[in-house]
Symmetry: C2
Subunit: 95 residues, 2 copies
């Protein structure tokens, strides 16, 4: 949409701590439950719930069981934020 991408992901387990210095990031839970761990707090999200992680805020997505989510963020944003490792998805792939 415009210069934004809507991404669908199945997540399971713990993702790494990261942040996006230039953009907010919208998480919407389609199915299951997840937690967005922040430094000092955590946001629990159930089906149909959403949360927007403000830019620059470190966060770690966690799903105890498989969880289906929709992510919305500008094109070209790496899923691992400022960190490039084996969890970094290619920008042309569906993550």
């Amino acid at each position: 949409m415009n210069d934004y991408q809507v991404k669908l992901a199945k997540i399971s387990g713990e993702f790494i701590w990261h942040k996006h210095d230039t953009t907010d990031e919208l998480f919407y839970v389609i199915k299951g439950n997840m937690k967005i761990v922040l430094r000092g707090s955590a946001i629990n999200l159930s089906e149909g719930e959403m949360y927007i992680v403000p830019k620059g805020i470190e966060h770690k997505p966690v799903a105890e069981k498989e969880c289906h989510i929709m992510l919305i963020e500008p094109k070209g944003i790496l899923n691992t934020g400022e960190i490039n490792n084996e969890l970094t998805a290619n920008l042309d792939e569906w993550v």
Copy 2:
């Protein structure tokens, strides 16, 4: 999110034909069914389905029964596009 708004709306009946010359518009169905009528075609959306209306494309949202939707578009976009009438929602209200 950034300079975008996420709007929640309960829609019922036929909305007016309109378009947004400057932006795409994302429709996501949370509950129920709706139809996005375009000139010459129509997109049927059920729960969990989404459609992005490209900028400049005339469209008319229709819901036979009450339907709960999430809309994502840049801040400051009028729900009725280029038309200002009694269906135009104030930008500070939840539509």
